[in-house]
Symmetry: C2
Subunit: 226 residues, 2 copies
């Protein structure tokens, strides 16, 4: 089997990405990044998902992006918006997050002698997100193929983005067909310790709309006051 | 003044790079990465250098690359070579290290609204190092200019590599002309707590030869048994 490093946040998209990679018969090494996000329940979810979906191994690496701040997710004094998206890039955007995560995945891939990285980016969610676009991913892949000892020795690394052009509803339909238990996933920006969602942040709204459009019961566990 | 993020390891090259950036009238934000290297004296050196060379601010961010290992610098069971370089990429190569460091610098740059990153890479040291080559740096810069909100808004980020084609002797001459106190820098892969160098690892050998070729007294503080 071919080894792949799969970035796994614990949310709906990355869980589906892992299920797709497993279904494509990759030997999956799931990587989560503890970057100082507002809550740890996403990372606990990643751990469960890696096991349930059959990843070979799961590692969580810590890189404290609260040192830089600049986002509602890495600076607790910036509130998470709960009134719906307004267009443009929201304050939950974390500067260079995908670049940092892909760089860490690249490091592990090189150590594992793996030439495949999966990331669940998606252009549809927030059309303004710079590091979710195909041209960005292509540029990262090109850079990665100059960056490592493996690349110099002739290996060709591929970045796989199986969700990039799917709607949230399509992602959910595909995940369900692959047996993903979405009640285990945590997408909410401000989930509680137990992983229960607020229902009103942008991430919750997108996810909830996805279940509706997919005509599938919403598996999300919400906080009791919703 | 124009803001710049300067990667500062605490070694000779990055100290010189910071001195060059300061001399070019950038307002310098020095960034060190605690990636689990074998000793902390390099980071202590970075802190002193940032102050002595007049950086506006200095941050150290922790990202524990020992989680992946794969290098003599991140896995203590792999010995640091002390018999001189043998050609090829040595075991002290850390997978994707410069990509990870540049990604972190990119994150801070975006938060600071800075469009300049300095890194002291140098092709001459180990000709085999993939992530010290100009074509790699150019590819990173291209990717970075697709990665961020700042880039989408039209800002153009530049990665500056003032040492890329210099010999170690040239770097030392330039640093001395700019007043760098090299006794504060730590290049050794296995320095002691006080920052004293072993004298025999590849990094020590290259540095020592640099001082000799530059015809400058070697400012390095060596361990007493050398």
């Amino acid at each position: 089997m071919t080894k792949a490093v799969v970035l796994l946040s614990g949310g709906l998209d990355s869980a589906t990405t892992l299920a797709i990679a497993q279904n494509n018969r990759y030997d999956c090494y799931a990587l989560s990044v503890d970057y100082g996000q507002r809550h740890g329940s996403e990372l606990a979810a990643a751990d469960k998902l890696a096991r349930c979906l059959g990843a070979r191994e799961h590692k969580t690496i810590k890189v404290d992006l609260t040192v830089f701040g600049g986002s509602a997710l890495t600076n607790k004094s910036i509130a998470v918006p709960t009134q719906g998206t307004k267009g443009g890039i929201p304050v939950t955007y974390v500067p260079a997050r995908n670049t940092i995560m892909l760089s860490l995945a690249l490091a592990w891939a090189e150590v594992l002698k793996s030439y495949h990285i999966f990331i669940g980016v998606n252009v549809m969610d927030y059309s303004g997100y710079p590091d979710c676009r195909l041209e960005y991913i292509a540029a990262f892949e090109k850079m990665a193929n100059l960056a490592t000892k493996a690349a110099i020795e002739g290996a060709k690394l591929s970045i796989h983005t199986p969700l990039i052009n799917l709607s949230k509803a399509d992602i959910i339909r595909q995940g369900i067909s692959l047996g993903v238990d979405y009640s285990l996933t945590v997408s909410c920006y401000q989930a509680d310790q137990g992983g229960r969602a607020c229902g009103v942040c942008d991430s919750c709204r997108l996810r909830r709309a996805g279940f509706e459009l997919a005509n599938v019961p919403d598996a999300t566990r919400y906080k009791p006051y919703i």
